[in-house]
Chain length 245, copies 2
Amino acid sequence: MKFGHPLELLVRSLELQTTLANEDREAVLALPYTLRTLDPLSYLVREGEKPDKCPILVSGFAYRQKMTAEGTRQIVAIHTPGDALDFQNLFLNIADHNVQMLTRGEVAFVKRKDMQDLSLSSRKIAEAMFVKTLIEASILREWVVNVGRRKAPERIAHVLCELGARLKSMGLDGEYRYELPMTQEELGDAVGLTPVHVSRTLKLLSEEGLITREKRSIGFPDWERLCEYADFVDRYLHLDVRVSP
Amino acid sequence: MKFGHPLELLVRSLELQTTLANEDREAVLALPYTLRTLDPLSYLVREGEKPDKCPILVSGFAYRQKMTAEGTRQIVAIHTPGDALDFQNLFLNIADHNVQMLTRGEVAFVKRKDMQDLSLSSRKIAEAMFVKTLIEASILREWVVNVGRRKAPERIAHVLCELGARLKSMGLDGEYRYELPMTQEELGDAVGLTPVHVSRTLKLLSEEGLITREKRSIGFPDWERLCEYADFVDRYLHLDVRVSP
DNA sequence: CGTAGTGTTGAGTCAAGTCAATGGTTGTGG
DNA sequence: CCACAACCATTGACTTGACTCAACACTACG
């Protein structure tokens, strides 16, 4: 999929929940930015730092992460193209977690100041940003549930469902198949399991016929059944909910 | 601790991170509200519903919760007096989780419309609300880490630290002792453990001299040591961070 | 005084972790 | 173009942290 303007996906993402006026769309597309291609593991935000730029993911994947004192890592969010990676930093001065590239990909860096001005100039855009933040919080709540209360197979199935639903909502991948953008170790860090157990669990899921695998490409022979199995209900993604005008 | 006005704690809470002008403070205190005393388990927000009022916790404790299909419960947030319990609903139309009273307490209900008008009338207040939302998201990220990557003793110690730090920041309880506002079963639902294991773990923590217990009152003989043990670093609470003007 | 809601403790089980060896891929540099 | 290294995934054997089931004690309260 090709886009004329790197920020077009951001607009599309904002418009999933909010209706923007033409001038709002244009204001977003008029944002000055620097486009860079980054390798996996590149840091976009570092815990403890005060960032002055707002990165927007144009292609590839990124994730949010925190380390424990023991040295274990927990991935707390996965980001897909079109996601703004730090509305946070517009209003909080110190990053409380890290943001890194998951795959190779392009990022548009917008100056903190320009982003602030944009949100000040249009109430619609400010609202859209707020809504996006609320949805991120909603996803975090579901992750707490996932990690706190579901067993390994359901837990992994659940993130597979979430990723699939989110990719589909942005029109980013085929219907019932996508390329998992991470290693099993990273998947484990996202769901609070060890890589070994992730491997065994994926094997189990495909033995049950819930998924098919070919390298890192995951297929979903029966999407409904998998959602049922994983206790995946997409309400928390607020994909179809238009906010009142 | 006694307050003249039920919404005074909300103002104080907002002012932890933001500096409000006098007129902003007065605008908040001028909000029309209905004060009600609610029993434990009373629902303030129900998943799937579209709420038309914005509850603000005046006294007592509340929590956010989601149920899995299996019937297990996960508590995803605990709220202390002064917390607004749904800025969310100002901008998202369908609740994706439940909010309930944890203890008996008072709640001021503000009309959704009045709250929206307030956020429209003052940029400072809108910003303060946004900041509060971002901090809730930050706490959620730490909860994902807690539940996903820490073992039972550290995990429970961590929430004890968090509650202590938050209560202290609002001047709501003694220095190094507070009354735990929940049963061990509820504590377990907050950290993804069974009540039996919570009981054993609390016992272990007090045998290690990390906490003292008397009924539900928890004491902290060596706060620093407990924080160290629990890997508790309060940065994610953004307590002392004033946002730039 | 009985009952319901808590918290505690013990014994046994099970899910997930640990450690370790093996095999497949990819990419790189001689 | 091959050899090697680095990374990733898989599998087996064993350990352990947390769960389950069950019994019992304590308290508050009608």
